[in-house]
Symmetry: C2
Subunit: 87 residues, 2 copies
């Protein structure tokens, strides 16, 4: 199979799998199950993957990890908004 196509399918699947958590947090306006610290670690790791993708010039890695960074930054923002409200 073409490597780029494989990477894009892999990236699409792992990206889709993240969305339910995001939708759940937004819908319920509740982020108490999320941990600040872990989101920061995850966002750092995903950003390094994007950097890695640029160094290796691999579009599937750049796209899927950049999408994951966006999802997790949104989760982090939800975390800040909803935790403030509940305290």
């Amino acid at each position: 199979m073409d490597e780029n196509l494989l990477g894009i399918i892999a990236g699409a699947l792992t990206s889709v799998a993240m969305l339910p958590q995001l939708l759940k947090v937004i819908k319920n306006k509740n982020a108490e199950d999320l941990s600040w610290g872990m989101l920061m670690v995850l966002i750092s790791g995903l950003s390094l993957w994007v950097w890695y993708g640029f160094l290796k010039d691999e579009l599937p890695i750049i796209l899927s990890n950049a999408f994951a960074v966006l999802v997790n930054i949104t989760l982090l923002i939800c975390c800040i908004i909803y935790k403030k409200k509940s305290s």
Copy 2:
């Protein structure tokens, strides 16, 4: 920075970020927040990333995604065990 070192650091961070959820599910013996369907999508996507890593011969991608597959298969097993018990 060396690409492989960068990939290994990125993989270590994203791997570490997954552990709290696993530990929480095992500790609380409660998997009601996890979705079967999403775990299956995630495991498929991560397995394709491992395959992609083999095609591209990139050890950081193989290692970090193989670890993620293991963590998510464990979550899936927890899901099956704990949901059976609670029903």
